[in-house]
């Protein structure tokens, strides 16, 4: 009973949230369109194994490289796998990699940024120096170097992507905390004897959250594209796991023979997924930009 109550109150909060997003004009609508795209693709991937007409990992369900027809609506690839089934199920690896890397970045970057900027002094300078060095460097190069050493796989891809994006969280949190911690209400909390972790978690963190949300959505989009990039240079999964990145990478060799359908559909899916997250991120960052509010 209590749980139902809670659900209802959350729903009651979310629905007006949506209507107010619509009222916020184009930026709010971008956020909503982005959310719908992402949600649709997540549901499609989750349902994939049940609704796919063929086993996505089985090769030779038909002849190789058949163009789209009634039996195989999106054709077959160079291994004779059904492209439709692979497209329906192929988001799983990318979603896993990006979710895991975002989680890792969040769990490491945010506390590190909070702690470093709150403590200040030498600790802060040392952390900032290391983080800035990583931040200024081509992310994909770092991810490739780490993934190359760790070897292919979901967890390894997520780890190498996480290393690249931790600096983004650290920097945004740090810059916000530096200005917030000087505000009078924080001073007031300190003067009544609040502990440092109380100040950080209850007084400062809530004010940093909006900026972190923007970073998370952009991180998601980047992680998806980076995962596709890592797969492209051979650090992803193997052929028996349906993955849009793998299909795109290995199908491109056959494009000169005119077999466009092998890469077109997985490619579009990657674009859609990255686009969904980008729309959310861009819409939110414009909504939250105080300089653009009249």
């Amino acid at each position: 009973m209590v749980r139902i109550e809670m659900k209802r109150s959350m729903l009651a909060r979310i629905v007006p949230g949506f209507t107010s997003l619509v009222k916020k004009g184009p930026s709010g609508q971008m956020v909503i369109i982005g959310m719908i795209i992402v949600l649709a693709l997540v549901i499609m991937t989750a349902m994939g194994p049940w609704i796919a007409p063929h086993d996505p990992s089985r090769s030779g369900v038909g002849r190789i490289r058949i163009p789209p027809n009634w039996q195989f609506p999106l054709g077959t690839n160079h291994l004779g796998q059904d492209v439709l089934s692979r497209t329906l199920c192929g988001g799983s690896i990318m979603l896993q990699v990006s979710a895991l890397s975002v989680l890792l970045c969040f769990a490491i970057g945010v506390p590190l940024g909070l702690f470093s900027s709150y403590v200040g002094g030498f600790v802060d300078s040392a952390f900032s120096l290391v983080i800035d060095a990583v931040y200024a460097f081509p992310g994909l190069v770092i991810a490739i170097a780490i993934a190359a050493m760790l070897g292919p796989g979901v967890v390894n891809m997520a780890l190498s992507i996480a290393v690249v994006y931790i600096p983004s969280y650290f920097r945004i949190v740090r810059s916000q905390v530096l200005s917030i911690k000087e505000l009078t209400y924080v001073e007031a909390a300190r003067s009544v004897g609040a502990k440092w972790y109380t100040i950080l978690s209850r007084y400062i963190l809530p004010n940093v959250v909006p900026s972190i949300v923007v970073v998370i959505t952009i991180n998601f989009a980047d992680a998806i594209l980076t995962a596709a990039g890592l797969t492209f240079i051979g650090l992803g999964v193997t052929y028996d796991i349906p993955d849009w990145g793998w299909d795109l990478t290995n199908g491109r060799t056959y494009i000169s023979s005119g077999a466009w359908w092998i890469i077109a559909f997985p490619g579009l899916m990657i674009i859609l997924l990255a686009l969904g997250f980008t729309l959310i991120g861009e819409g939110l960052s414009e909504l939250l930009n105080p300089k653009l509010q009249r």
Binding site: L140, A228, G229, F232, I233, L248, I270, L279, N289
Partner: protein, 345 residues
């Protein structure tokens, strides 16, 4: 602080950053699992032979000694003046000097980066200004939509599509390599084929190398232009709302003068900084573009060496990328300080 002392401080600050990067790369390469030596042998290798190879590559020394050797090699002036490139160690796969390989691959990447940057700025900055001028109109939405979509497209997917259209179907442009294989590359002066062929006065070579550059740089440039649109648009929107712009309008100045002479000039500094930062992203994209177009640059070099776990080669290429990024950000910072004296304070 004068401009000169600012430049000196800024250059000195680059050194610890680079050293830090180097150390991290070194540690990542050594601490993470994977053994390049065992890749040279069949499963049942002679342990003595493997030990010999480890010795040859200096891998039998303790980690700190290897690190020290590496740094000492990098700053070895005698080696540099003898070879024309720094000592980055020997490749674990081919036993050749990594420095030489990296230095000969670099100009291809540089040329691709320069042309992509030109395309991205020529497309992104004007579109961003137009979008900010027509804020929230249909035109603004279209330009913004274009920018957002290009950001979400995987570089290599766009590359393959362009190859398919302009190479396979229309036969207009080559789909790979820096120059038509039947044409001898121009003699190396700068290493940039388009520049070298012009210096040589050979227009056939210039034409061939430019043709080969179009698709790769268009691919990378289009992807980057989305970010340029967004940055220019946001900065212009913020600047157009400031008082001095309203004041300029009130004085009855022409709209184009206000937009380009006043607003864009002021919005340009943050745009410049961001362009400098995007250079790092451009190099990441270059790796994938080079692989798509068989472009013999640093990126393809890294990708080819990954399968051999060629630590020294990957490390050398990463160091080269790091130097390049540091140099670009140094130039941007100095430009910034030159344009805006407040930075020097």
């Amino acid at each position: 602080m004068g401009l000169r002392s600012y430049v000196i401080t800024r250059v000195l600050l680059t050194i610890p950053t680079l050293l830090l990067l180097l150390t991290m790369v070194f540690l990542v390469m050594r601490v993470l699992p994977g053994d390049p030596v065992s890749l040279h042998f069949e499963k049942k290798a002679d342990p003595l032979q493997m030990e010999q190879m480890r010795h040859l590559l200096g891998m039998d020394k303790p980690l700190w000694a290897q690190y020290f050797d590496y740094i000492a090699g990098l700053v070895d002036v005698n080696y540099f003046s003898a070879h024309g490139y720094p000592n980055l160690g020997k490749s674990m796969q081919s036993f050749e000097e990594v420095g030489g390989q990296v230095f000969s691959a670099f100009p291809a990447t540089l040329e691709l980066a320069i042309y992509s940057m030109i395309i991205a700025s020529a497309l992104g900055i004007p579109l961003g200004v137009i979008a900010s001028k027509s804020y929230n109109s249909v035109l603004d939405h279209l330009i913004r939509g274009f920018g957002t979509v290009t950001y979400a497209v995987p570089v290599f997917f766009l590359g393959v599509i362009l190859q398919l259209i302009f190479g396979v179907y229309l036969h207009w442009l080559p789909t790979g390599l820096r120059i038509n294989p039947s044409v001898v590359p121009p003699p190396t002066i700068t290493g940039l084929y388009t520049v070298d062929s012009l210096l040589q006065g050979n227009f056939v070579k210039f034409f061939e190398s430019s043709k080969a550059l179009i698709l790769p740089s268009l691919t990378l440039g289009l992807i980057l232009s989305g970010i340029f649109i967004r940055l220019t648009r946001t900065n212009m929107l913020e600047t157009l709302r400031l008082d001095f712009v309203t004041a300029a309008r009130a004085r009855g100045l022409k709209d184009s003068t206000v937009t380009y002479g006043y607003a864009l000039r002021n919005a340009f500094l943050p745009i410049l900084t961001m362009v400098g930062l995007q250079f790092a992203m451009l190099l990441g994209g270059a790796i994938l573009t080079e692989t798509t177009f068989s472009w013999p640059g640093l990126g393809r070099y890294i990708v080819q060496r990954i399968n051999f776990r060629d630590y020294t080669a990957i490390q050398g290429a990463v160091v080269m990328f790091g130097l390049f990024v540091a140099l670009v950000s140094l130039i941007v910072d100095i430009l910034y300080a030159y344009v805006d004296p407040r930075i020097r304070m």
